[in-house]
Point group: C2
Chain length 218, copies 2
């Protein structure tokens, strides 16, 4: 079964036609998004923090410094909600009311655990590095034991999830189509600009493959 069960937690209530519950829809959104927003609650007070993630099957890996409050909270097994949002465009309608945004978002519910086993930790760091730039793990100097000890990794088991998306042009009211007002979509994309080489770059090193044709997803 490749669909998450629809429950009160993950159900898309507003515009249910825009919702999806299958991994084939949800996971490519998680993988394309460079960052996620992790929400947790402490005594009723919610917090939401942006961070890098990487996915392996039904697990999301997060990492940071061992002193990170977010990671400590996650390691304690508290309920989490993690959301990734991709902005695809502005929907420019004739009426203000029908303006919208084209987007793909994925919302994940689960709980975390500390990754203590060295092999899993290294694999997770490789996935996190590859999530930032495909191929970079093999290009860069890999972590030594001191760096591994200075990095905390947590694994969040995805227990429930859903996606919500909008695509396509504006849907105006019938009587508005003759108005002399421009309507359409302004596509948006998170794009790489020209790479800036470090001032202290050693001589004769070419731009690596991971950066040369950088693109995310799709």
């Amino acid at each position: 079964m490749n669909e998450f069960a629809k429950t009160s937690r993950n159900q898309v209530r507003r515009m249910p036609a825009r919702g999806a519950y299958d991994r084939e829809t949800i996971y490519p959104i998680l993988d394309e998004a460079l960052i996620c927003h992790v929400a947790f609650a402490v005594e009723g007070q919610p917090y939401v923090i942006p961070t890098i993630h990487a996915r392996a099957g039904d697990v999301l890996y997060l990492h940071g410094a061992p002193a990170s409050r977010l990671l400590k909270h996650i390691m304690q097994g508290h309920p989490l909600c993690i959301t990734c949002t991709l902005l695809d465009g502005l929907v420019i309608a004739r009426s203000v009311f029908h303006h919208s945004v084209n987007y793909r978002s994925a919302i994940v519910f689960g709980t975390g655990r500390q990754v203590t086993e060295l092999q899993e930790k290294e694999q997770a760091l490789a996935l996190l590095t590859e999530h930032i730039a495909r191929g970079r793990w093999d290009e860069a100097r890999q972590p030594n034991s001191r760096e591994l000890a200075a990095t905390e990794v947590v694994a969040v088991q995805i227990e429930s999830a859903s996606a919500k998306m909008r695509s396509g042009g504006p849907q105006d009211d019938d009587e508005d189509y003759d108005l002399p007002i421009w309507a359409g979509v302004l596509p948006l994309a998170l794009l790489p600009l020209i790479p800036q080489q470090d001032e202290r770059q050693s001589f004769g090193v070419d731009l690596p493959a991971s950066i040369q044709n950088y693109s995310r997803g799709r």
Copy 2:
């Protein structure tokens, strides 16, 4: 006093040098970000939802359908956390360990209320429209009374906030600078692509100013 007090809620603990508490730093991040992520908690379960926002002074306006679970929860005055994140680039270091992301994020704490007064509601919808595309409120057909009734607007008073940012190139370990590994920054930006005119566009309407030279912030 243009700084928010540093409290346990908004304090930047990891890398405190990257933190800021003044409105002059925090508010431009909120204004440049097309969307925010709103976190709330129901009986200990956190949720985080992406949505459009607009700022007026120390208030963030959000809107949606009257049936929205998020807006209903906000109207009840529960504590909220709202985060905006701008991705500025990938920091590509010689070592995996020093890879990072350049970003500007703002985190806001506050509570919301329903906007019931018609003038404030219209003003908020104008701000939300202008947040999407500057100048669009006057270009488009403005909301009629039926549409105003079909739109819920909430105001979130910003009680506390902070920003966290990283910029600049990689900081590698001294002994790694001679390695034959490329290092630098790959700048990223959310950019508009070519506008796509609606198929049902009425004849002889030019691309409006709001879309022609679209850019966010800076």
